[in-house]
Symmetry: C2
Subunit: 428 residues, 2 copies
């Protein structure tokens, strides 16, 4: 008779309650599929009295998650509190020190301290699993670490923050400004308590850093992610990009290049007919490219009670089955520090500028681009509005350095009003 697998759950927000529900409602199914009974022994959260619409009376209560993590009667510490410091970090470290396996949904903690935690876990012979930390219910970490393990991964890419994708698609659908949709999303509770985690690309950047580490066998390095949020995306950009056949997405891209590891999280244009271009609302999508498998696209809910709890329980069941692997897919001590690429690989860019109504103005723009070695793929000038004419340009592939040079040169011509908008185009 196999012993049950005993869980201690720290954090009883949306995800924690979802995990409790799955364990309560699907006990027999979980046992059939994982070969072991899965039981919750004890829980911990900030408030003991909050009504959570789930029966917690069968479980012991711990006020301090560190005490929960160290309990003799749990096998797995399930960390669903969040935050890259404080109780989440202390309790995770305590769990590993006490010989527990850890299942975590905490992208910030792993992106900031993943290497140290992985080394500690591997010395202790324990697992840290965190499928729920990236793209909610989509089993992308399992796909990278296991399903596609025989591939040299060439690129990982995707829309990893549902709130940002909601804001961008809602702006387009309703014709609203960024500010208006931001306020709406905030009131609906779609954004983190600190909204900059979402709209600044930080949350998505944490996820990208984790995927990059697994994909390329490097130490997780969130500090090397080039971050740019969606705060500067305007409804005009969205509309005029649509005119040219593109959608704007907060896109994460990680790839290993001859100049080092490139990790960027920034607004990009993608073809509106591509899988990424067609992604609406809060859905996430991850694109994995490998030398043998080609391109694999995974799509699903990136957040929410059910999807995130599904990912947490997938990890718990792997532990119940005895499936153990290194935290980032390879032994932590063997992971090298990646050299960060200082510039992104060349790409086409979309430029939007306001041209003054002067003879020869467009020629000056074209010349400035030409002199920086940038050739124009497509260009459109619209009617003048208030003495300025919107001009959209899609360039051929160019480096960011050449583009910045051209933008300086364009500023010097004196024929463009305000600052030009430049957005990278990522082809799929």
């Amino acid at each position: 008779m196999t012993q049950p697998l005993r869980l201690g759950i720290a954090g009883l927000g949306t995800v924690g309650v979802g995990v409790v529900r799955i364990v309560q409602n699907h006990a027999d199914m979980l046992e059939k599929r994982s070969g072991r009974r899965i039981e919750i022994v004890a829980v911990s959260a900030r408030s003991k009295t909050k009504n959570r619409d789930v029966d917690l009376s069968p479980y012991d209560w711990e006020d301090d998650p560190v005490d929960l993590a160290k309990r003799d009667d749990i096998d797995v510490f399930v960390e669903l509190m969040g935050g890259d410091e404080g109780p989440a970090k202390a309790a995770t470290e305590a769990a590993i020190a006490a010989g527990k396996d850890v299942v975590s949904a905490n992208k910030a903690l792993l992106a900031m301290h993943g290497q140290a935690l992985a080394e500690a876990a591997e010395i202790a012979g324990r697992s840290i699993k965190y499928e729920a930390a990236v793209a909610g219910g989509i089993p992308v970490i399992k796909a990278l670490n296991e399903g596609l393990a025989a591939n040299d991964i060439t690129r990982v890419m995707g829309v990893m923050n549902g709130s940002c994708n909601y804001i961008l698609t809602r702006m387009e659908d309703a014709g609203l400004s960024y500010e208006a949709v931001f306020d709406e999303a905030n009131q609906l509770g779609y954004l983190e308590a600190d909204p900059e985690l979402d709209v600044g690309g930080i949350d998505a950047g944490h996820k990208l850093a984790l995927l990059a580490s697994i994909a390329f066998g490097t130490q997780v390095d969130f500090g090397a992610v080039t971050l740019e949020g969606i705060g500067s995306v305007t409804i005009e950009d969205i509309r005029q990009a649509a005119d040219m056949g593109y959608k704007i997405k907060l896109l994460g891209v990680a790839q290993m290049t001859g100049r080092g590891l490139e990790q960027r999280m920034s607004p990009c244009l993608v073809p509106d007919t591509s899988p990424l271009g067609q992604l609406q609302g809060g859905t996430n999508m991850i694109v994995l490219e490998g030398d043998s498998v080609g391109q694999i696209v995974l799509r699903g809910a990136g957040a929410g009670e059910g999807p995130t709890a599904s990912a947490v329980m997938g990890d718990v069941m792997d532990i119940a089955r005895g499936f153990r692997m290194p935290v980032f897919g390879q032994p932590a001590k063997d992971l090298r520090k990646a050299r960060a690429a200082h510039s992104a690989v060349p790409a086409p860019y979309y430029l939007r500028l306001q041209l003054q109504d002067k003879p020869g103005a467009l020629a000056k723009i074209a010349r400035a681009l030409g002199e920086s070695g940038i050739s124009i793929d497509r260009m459109r000038q619209y009617e003048h509005q208030d003495a300025a004419a919107p001009v959209l340009i899609v360039t051929h592939k160019t480096t960011k350095t050449a583009l910045d040079e051209a933008l300086d040169e364009i500023a010097n011509t004196g024929v463009a009003t305000g600052s030009p908008v430049a957005i990278r185009i990522e082809n799929l």
Copy 2:
């Protein structure tokens, strides 16, 4: 020092050669990620002398795959021969009897004999893994068995035969008849030696039966799959479905209903804006729906050397890591025989008929539908051509029984020329 994992590979067609290439080119990476060296010890194929553009000289040769399967110096028998009887079956059985783990790309063998093989493997304490048998490089079996294991799966659906999807999208793009594109695909080598395996939906039906078994915890039962191939799909159907906002796909659907397990592989209409509707060419897509996770969509190459070899090696690496699970996700002895649903759940249907140029003709059609309890969602009549007018009808949800009744009634009216076409619409 961990011992290497030793492979014996039977079958050196496209996939077998792909597996040899990965093992030769990525030896160090495979070891880093799986924790063990992976070596090929011996191989077997029909022709020893065929030039395969890969160096087989380091490996022993066996003329008989059964002898290969029983060799003392292999740990894993990799079966890439295909066929549901004959050498593939004999060698797989021999491998299990000899205490080997098996990795297989053979959907026919597993769909026909999976239950018996699973029981034998589990008694022997061995694994049979077959990620490559379903949807090529897409890690869908892993997603179902592991990533989504905490979900009560409600529906599994998808485009699982790239050749059929190629034919249907090529018909539409080039405006060619089924026959013309079939011949073209056959000449390009896109179809199986027996093309009926592809265009008759048999190959895709094998895959659906395997997914259904895992999803619903039932004994694999290919005989219960309702099969309908794409041979009767005309270019007119494709064009006129497009007019109504739909694409025609050879769609597999498995769902557990109150009336039993429904497994169908048949041409269906899907909205042209849905992920399935937008699937072009030889790509595969699987949609998994679970009670917690909601809808997960997986997309990638469903065939070809690299993608299929990637899936084979993913399984091999799981075995190297010691990851063992029951063949169909739950112990084979516990799988129940599913009661087959005798009719599909109600759905909207698309009807195409040729109406004679007679007063009151359309009214008779509408009345026939109404009398069978079928209401019309949308209807279009086109101009008369050769004394007949094409009529397209999209119904509201109805049962197949009511629909067949209405079609009989329509035939009795005498105002429709030829047989009406009726295609199920699957909403996503």
